[in-house]
């Protein structure tokens, strides 16, 4: 996923002034994927949201001292999102590989173990999606992203 270009940056002005613009852009970018990613089977949107959360996290690792505790909390929250969405992505990568191997063993008893693995991956993905949605709701209730927005506008 290509990152949105940040406008109005000026190398001669302060880290804080430029970081404010970049964090605002990366935050809105991540939030823009949330609605689509909240559908259970939306693997592509969940992947995009993971990449956006990772960009925001790495950015805050550099710049959080300019914005205070709200930014530190947001950085930790972005990491949590990245982690659960990463686990979902791992399931999405693994499932077709297992399916391919099952088809290679079609008609053999030897494929039974992989069929169980496939069912397990499906169940794990479903549980991870529930975790993701709960995490997203918790972060919303705790106003993690709203507070980051507020300090960026201050």
């Amino acid at each position: 996923m290509k990152a949105v270009k940040v406008k109005g940056l000026d190398p001669a002005t302060s880290l804080r002034a430029n970081a404010t613009r970049i964090v605002q852009t990366r935050l809105e970018e991540m939030l823009s994927f949330a609605a689509a990613a909240s559908a259970p089977g939306a693997g592509a949107a969940q992947h995009d949201m993971r990449i956006a959360a990772k960009r925001l996290r790495y950015l805050l690792e550099i710049t959080e001292d300019c914005f205070g505790p709200e930014a530190r909390r947001a950085r930790r929250a972005a990491r949590e999102l990245q982690s659960v969405l990463g686990d979902i992505h791992d399931c999405d990568v693994m499932a077709p590989l297992v399916a391919e191997q099952i088809s290679n063993h079609a008609g053999e008893d030897a494929g039974t173990g992989l069929e169980l693995v496939a069912a397990h991956i499906e169940g794990r993905r479903a549980r991870l999606f529930v975790q993701f949605r709960e995490l997203w709701q918790e972060q919303g209730a705790a106003r993690v992203w709203a507070e980051l927005r507020r300090v960026l506008r201050a």
Binding site: A3, L9, D10, P11, A12, T13, S14, L15, R16, A17, N18, A19, I22, K54, R55, Y58, L59, E61, I62, T63, D65, C66, D90, V93, M94, L97, V98, Q101, I102, H105, E108, A110, G111, T112, G113, L114, L116, V117, H120, I121
Partner: protein
């Protein structure tokens, strides 16, 4: 991988000077992870080096306005090749770990079809390690180190009032 705190980073300092400092620190983190990265049994080393590359790529993107375009693009091209090679080497590790974990969970650790898939991932891992070896050769890492040093130097010069080189 624990990231290093960036000392001497002031929120009120010019963006370009901050760029120089951040790129230097993130580059150091990357090169610290390179020894042992080809050891097939040290799977965390590959992961850590990959994370360090991602952090450095992110830093260069954050500070892109402070960096000379040609040097920035040249550095990013090398980092992309490194990230891709590390990713290809890392992915089979993740798959093997997941598959073996799942097999144990469902009580099928001896299953032949699962073992065959693990073996396929092992072969992919070894092939990916050979490709990674070319990307992390001493010569290529030295070149990358030099290019990143020049990139940070250009940002520092620009932040100190010099002009930005193309």
């Amino acid at each position: 991988m624990a990231r290093r705190e960036i000392e001497d980073l002031e929120c009120d300092q010019p963006f370009a000077l901050a760029a120089a400092r951040v790129i230097e620190v993130r580059a150091e983190e990357l090169f610290e992870q390179s020894p042992g990265v080809l050891d097939l049994d040290r799977i965390e080393r590959v992961h850590d080096m990959r994370v360090a590359v991602r952090r450095l790529q992110a830093a260069i993107e954050v500070f892109r306005e402070c960096l000379p375009r040609k040097r920035r693009r040249a550095a990013l091209k090398q980092l992309r090749a490194l990230a891709d090679a590390l990713g290809e080497r890392r992915d089979p590790d993740v798959s093997i770990e997941a598959l073996e974990g799942l097999a144990a969970e469902i009580g099928r650790s001896e299953d032949r079809s699962i073992a065959a898939l693990v073996e396929r991932f092992q072969e992919e891992k070894e092939a990916a390690n050979e490709r990674l070896a070319r990307v992390v050769s001493e010569v290529r890492l030295q070149r990358l180190r030099g290019d990143l040093g020049e990139l940070a130097g250009a940002a520092r010069e620009f932040g100190a009032g010099g002009r930005r080189h193309s």
